[in-house]
Symmetry: C2
Subunit: 267 residues, 2 copies
Amino acid sequence: PAHVIVIANEKGGVGKSTMSIHLSVALLKAGYRVATIDLDTRQRSLTRFYENRASFARTAPWDVELPRHFAMDHVRGANAQENESAEFAAFAEAIGEVEHAYEFVVIDTPASDTYLMRLAHSLADTLISPMNDSFVDVDVMSRVHHDRAHRGQVAQYAEIVLEARRKRRLVDNGMIDWVLVRNRIAALQSNNARQVDQALRKLAVELQFRVAEGLRDRVIFRELFPIGLTALDAIEEANHQLTPSQQTARREIESLIGELRLPSRVA
Amino acid sequence: PAHVIVIANEKGGVGKSTMSIHLSVALLKAGYRVATIDLDTRQRSLTRFYENRASFARTAPWDVELPRHFAMDHVRGANAQENESAEFAAFAEAIGEVEHAYEFVVIDTPASDTYLMRLAHSLADTLISPMNDSFVDVDVMSRVHHDRAHRGQVAQYAEIVLEARRKRRLVDNGMIDWVLVRNRIAALQSNNARQVDQALRKLAVELQFRVAEGLRDRVIFRELFPIGLTALDAIEEANHQLTPSQQTARREIESLIGELRLPSRVA
Ligand SMILES: Nc1ncnc2c1ncn2[C@@H]1O[C@H](COP(=O)(O)OP(=O)(O)OP(=O)(O)O)[C@@H](O)[C@H]1O
Ligand SMILES: Nc1ncnc2c1ncn2[C@@H]1O[C@H](COP(=O)(O)OP(=O)(O)OP(=O)(O)O)[C@@H](O)[C@H]1O
Ligand SMILES: [Mg+2]
Ligand SMILES: [Mg+2]
């Protein structure tokens, strides 16, 4: 069955959609059969990227790869139970359609504690949580408190992952490989970034995740969203000159994929 | 009555809490009576900052200003109507306590479409929406589409503001001064940032907001979160050397406050 990659972090704006975009395009370009699912039912950044890419593909001078894409809807009835059952049914149908026909399923999630976001966690083979080098971001994993007595309590997002792991163990004894990926890394490493990194390495043992070097803050990771392209695409052909930074950006994505230790050929 | 400043943007991670922190501390230091309300009931970054600040204040070598702070709770019963009434009651009680006793109320909101987040919009005298220089961020205001036929539709977050304005006009004919504030601005302006700026200036006319120059991406805006301080505080005394970047950071905050055109002495 497909290897399920969930990109999630309850902290807003850490780069979940940006990672989902670059990861899914990279896997497509490596020749895998890829499905993508957007659980951010309001913002839909991943869906919007693939809409732009499909539009660009219509007139592009080369073959532009596209995944099989699903965008979930939020059900807003008065009864919370009924809403969840409807959301579950739609999501289960999408998973049912892709789990045997595709090699990878890449799932983007919203920055809020929703039913579908939690559900996705218990399906994850690889869970990727992007983070900024900031103690504001660490605080959703483990309390960053001036007062030592309150420091280090497991915080709300880590709770969600620990609970998903407990459920997963009961269902099929599967393991969630939880990878924290540093994103929007500054060119010059600050003292603050070193301290955040130290805090994460200590937390990694307690919360059982691993920390991967991610992406630097580069304009190329954001600027092609309107035309549905990435640094991985043949942007030289679309009149974009491939700058040294774009060359490096490609290598950064490739080395990040290497750190994820994804299965090479999925059964 | 108090001047209500709401910091909101459904897009995650744009800097809502960072702006709420720096704005409320700046107003406190200017001698105003300030109340703060945290409507991000899960993440509570603003609440967490003031917890750290109160803890630091206990042993600080100088008088550390603190606002009157309220952290709202999310009510999670099975009936959506009842939850909303309970949340409304708690929020109305907090507003009732501060609207005449304080000069400014600063309200931080979550990156999701919640009942309290929408309610806050209709109370705003000044609405501040931080944004990154990215078309992913523009997309929540106005559709950024490769296909011209779909480009420019009013998107989900702008809809929320337009609706709040309609409601506000009915209630007390008040005007919401909507200010988009660029945040985490790069040191070197890219072509992409120029294009985003152009898109926002055009949108400003259609959606009736104004664009303010905000904050550069500086470590000092994030690194003191664990001890509840900002660049505005007497950090020279806490053994931090005030670097040139921190001097500039102070000026950036002061000039941002100037652009907000807040009332100088509130009746
Ligand atoms: N490595 C990067 N370099 C440059 N910009 C980036 C990078 N990663 C993300 N961004 C930008 O940072 C912002 C946040 O990224 P993104 O929207 O992907 O995060 P998210 O976690 O999906 O946000 P949300 O919580 O709203 O879903 C966007 O403006 C995006 O363009
Ligand atoms: N001007 C800035 N310079 C440096 N870092 C910043 C700046 N503004 C925000 N940050 C950092 O960017 C990240 C996002 O900021 P913040 O948490 O304030 O955004 P938010 O909109 O409140 O996020 P959420 O949607 O999760 O509530 C945090 O890690 C914060 O420390
Ligand atoms: Mg996203
Ligand atoms: Mg916040």
